[in-house]
Structure formats: C-alpha cells, structure tokens
C-alpha cells in the first residue's frame, strides 16, 4: 500500500527512484532544455569544447592481489586550468571504485549517485549487488546521461571492483551509449588515456606485485602528462600528486601521499640523470 508523507517506489534502485520522482536530481536531468533552445557558449558553438571544467586522465591496472586505480589531479576549462587538486578516483563501496573523465560536475554527481545507489540497494535487499551487477547498473546510468552528451557534457567512467565470488579484481570501461566492456589487464581513459595506455602496453605483465603495479600506474600518468596538456603531472612546488587506490579482497585502501611522492622522487631522479 502507498504510504502518505513517505517516498513510495516499487524497486530497489535509487537511480530509478530519483529519475522517476525527482528527475532534476539525476545527471541525465530529464528536465533539461531541448538542444536547440540551449544557450550555448561561444566556444561550444564554434565547435570547441564547452566551457565547463573537464577532468582528464585516469587508469586502472590489474595485479596479483586485485586492481590499482589512479588518476591525475588536473581539471581544464578550454586552455585554462580550472582546478589543480580535483579528485577523480572515488571509493564507491567496500569493494569497488570508479574513476572519471569528462565534464567534472556531472562526473562527480554520477559518482555520488552511484555510491548512493549501491548503498541503497544493499540496505533494501539486505545484500550487496554482485560485481557484474554493479558494473551493469553503472552502464545504465551512463546511458541515461546520453542526452547531456549532445550538450557537450560527457561523463566517462572507468569502474573497478573486486569480485569476491571469482576472487579477482575486474576492470570495466564504457562507451557513451552505456555499452559496457570488460578489460582483461589494464585500461586508461580521458584526454591522456592513449598516452597512458602506450606506457602500460610496454611494461604490463600478468601478476605484477603491488609496488610494481603502483609504479607502472604512476609512470603511465607521468608520461600522459608529458604528452597531453590536459593531464597534470606531479606538482613538486605545491606538493600535489596523483591519487591512487588499491582494490583487493581486503577492501579499498588509499595509497598514502608519501608513498606516491617517493615513487615520483626516484622516477624523476632517474629521468634527470638521463639528461646530463
């Protein structure tokens, strides 16, 4: 029966609940202005990127115990730097994380919505969704965002989860239409994604140890920052470094800033010695 004064909905999905009852709260925003009436900024009309902050390179690599997921800290707005300290890697629940590339605002909103979605399901049903179930749900959310893509607000997630049943880490990538594809070893997305993938292709091995996987992830981000203006490298002056998380059977663990810093210190020392 319907309960007055309390939200009623038949399914266990929070995303379906807000899209039905509070459409303004979803990133897909079913209440958006039609494309032809959208007052587009000058840059968007001339075919350039729309003037909202864009988050850039993020990547994930499988290793012995699970998956490492990492991202740089730069957000760009056209040729300007919008933010130097943006976080692109989000803990979603105890066993999964997601990293984002695309329009920063809707991306962060989608991560928050996805966090709520999984917690909501777990509380209503009394159990967690399977790793595959979580990945599929995220695909549906990306698909719902399709109308916004035509306004230039692209949201591109990279999802990693530890599958407790299979006892392995898994990586999922998406396309704009919500298509979901599983990657077997590693993947990177965003403006510097291709550069990061090149590095990972060169040095990736199966069953990497944790320090090696972290080093590879950070090297790939460094190389991406080297070749791509949208990707931020380590900022030695301000002490801003990329962020990374390990997703394993023990849950999610943030990699400490000091540890990332020491990896970069030794990497930079090696590169500097090559120049002299």
């Amino acid at each position: 029966m319907k309960l007055p004064y309390l939200p009623n909905h038949d399914e266990s999905s929070f995303f379906d609940f807000v899209s039905t009852h509070h459409p303004g709260l979803t990133p897909g925003g079913h209440g958006v202005v039609p494309a032809d009436r959208w007052a587009q900024p000058e840059s968007a009309r001339s075919g350039g990127p729309m003037a909202v902050p864009h988050a850039t390179t993020v990547l994930a690599i499988k290793y012995q115990q699970g998956v490492v997921i990492a991202g740089d800290r730069r957000a760009t707005e056209g040729f300007q730097i919008a933010d130097r300290r943006i976080e692109k890697v989000f803990k979603i629940d105890e066993f999964s994380a997601m990293a984002i590339a695309g329009a920063a605002g809707p991306c962060i909103e989608m991560a928050r919505l996805f966090q709520t979605e999984l917690e909501h399901y777990e509380k209503l049903e009394g159990m967690q969704l399977s790793c595959e179930g979580k990945a599929n749900k995220l695909g549906q959310m990306v698909k719902a965002n399709l109308p916004m893509v035509f306004h230039g607000l692209v949201v591109m997630p990279l999802y990693v989860g530890y599958d407790l049943k299979r006892a392995e880490g898994r990586i999922f990538k998406y396309d704009l239409a919500g298509g979901r594809y599983e990657e077997s070893d590693y993947h990177a997305i965003g403006s510097g994604g291709k550069d990061a993938r090149n590095t990972m292709r060169e040095y990736f091995q199966k069953n990497l140890s944790e320090p090696d996987a972290l080093k590879l992830a950070l090297t790939a981000l460094y190389n991406a920052a080297d070749d791509d203006v949208g990707t931020g490298g380590p900022d030695l002056v301000r002490g801003i470094y990329p962020t990374a998380k390990f997703v394993t059977a023990q849950g999610i663990a943030d990699v400490a800033d000091d540890r990332i810093r020491s990896v970069y210190d030794s990497m930079i020392a090696v590169r500097r010695s090559r120049e002299t």
Partner: protein, 228 residues
C-alpha cells in the same frame, strides 16, 4: 426514508485501535537499549533472513514489530527518505527526528483515514556522535510518537518486558555484555522459555565506527558476549 447508519467517531477509533493492538500482541518483542558505546538492538526472531532490525543510515537504525509485510514496507520507505535527503543535501543532514516525524505522519494518516490501520509498532534510533545524546523514538500504529530514554520496547509483550527492564536498569549506561544479557533475560522472562543465540537477532550502532555505524552481530559473537 431509511436513516443513514451512524457510528460515533470514538467507537470507530476504538475499534481500529483494538484491531491494531490485537495484531501487534501476536508478535514477539524487540528492545533497543543504550549502552556505553552506542545503541544495542535485540529482537526475539527465530528467522535468520527475515529481519526485524535494520540499518537506515549512518547513525540511524530501525526495528519493527507486528505484521512483517507492513513494517517492511515502512522500513524501505524510511531508507528511501534517508538516502534521498543524504543525496540531496549531505550525509550529516539526515536525522532520526525527521524520519520519526515522517513515520508518525504516515501512520497517523493511515490510522484515521483508512479502513484498516497498520498493525505495527516501530522504533527509530539514532546514535549520538561528537558529544550529542542518543535519540530513540517509539512510534505506534496510530502515529503517536514517544521519545524514550535508556531503553525502548516494542512488540507483543512490550509492557511486561518494560517492567522487567525498569527493575534492572541503573543510572549508568551499561557495557555491551551487560546490556545484551539484560535484554535477553527480559525477553526470556516474558516469553517463558530459553532463547538460544540462534533465535536472537542482534545489531549495534557503534558510536566510534567510521561512516556507517550499523553492524549485525553474528551468532558466534552473541554467544561470546552472553558467556561473559
């Protein structure tokens, strides 16, 4: 001309209340009790999968007694209410008071307007963090809401359980072990039989946990706590 059939509003309400009370009286009891590090929820529940106690949000838990389908529906609506608020505003803006008010409004409206009242009694408890006190609300089938201290009881023999607990309670918040054994013995005394750890559903809201503070205690933990 036939006269319309008249029943006084007092009579209608009385009949409805009696009907709801009868439904609730058939069920077993659940207890929420404050202990040193949070709130303990204990339910006499032989089923391991059909829960009477559940998590609502970071600091908020729910317990229901009476008709399962009806309090389950209320539980789900409560989670939706809390998650929506937390998503729309922020996690710290989700409060037990607002949820308890929502439940009270809803139950009150159903009681006065629907033919059949809900045969439920529910508890909304919130563990206080950063020096805030705990909050415990007991909400009845007619929407009446009671702010409880130290412990709160719902279900079939709630009055009897309450009397037993009142005798035992001291001013100080007990340790988890003491609180659990008090709850279990109160439930046993009123049920008149021994409750095995498998027949109990126990959960806690732990004040010092980071993030979501609700935790179910597995049978092994219950046995261990009761053996102390």
């Amino acid at each position: 001309m036939p006269m319309p059939y008249y029943v006084s509003p007092e009579q209608v309400m009385q009949d409805k209340a009696e009907y709801a009370k009868k439904g609730i009286a058939k069920g077993r009891s659940s207890i929420a009790m404050e202990y040193a590090d949070g709130i303990l929820l204990t339910a006499d529940n032989p089923s391991a999968s059909l829960h009477k106690v559940s998590e609502i949000y970071d600091c908020i838990a729910f317990a229901g007694a009476g008709k399962y389908s009806e309090f389950e529906n209320l539980r789900k609506a409560g989670i939706r209410h809390a998650d929506l608020k937390g998503f729309m505003y922020s996690r710290e803006d989700v409060t037990g008071r607002s949820l308890a008010n929502g439940y009270s409004q809803s139950l009150g409206t159903i009681f006065s307007q629907e033919l059949k009242p809900l045969e439920v009694e529910i508890l909304v408890v919130q563990v206080g963090v950063n020096g805030q006190p705990n909050e415990m609300y007991r909400i009845s089938f007619d929407g009446s809401i009671i702010d409880e201290r130290n412990f709160a009881v719902i279900g079939g023999k709630s009055d009897a359980v309450q009397t037993v607990l009142k005798e035992k309670s001291s001013g100080q918040a007990p340790s988890l072990e003491t609180a659990l054994s008090r709850c279990v013995s109160a439930l046993e005394q009123t049920a008149n039989f021994k409750l095995p750890p498998e027949g109990l559903e126990v959960a806690v809201l732990e004040r010092h946990r980071v993030g979501r503070k609700f935790r179910r205690l597995p049978v092994a933990d219950i046995r261990l706590l009761l053996s102390v």
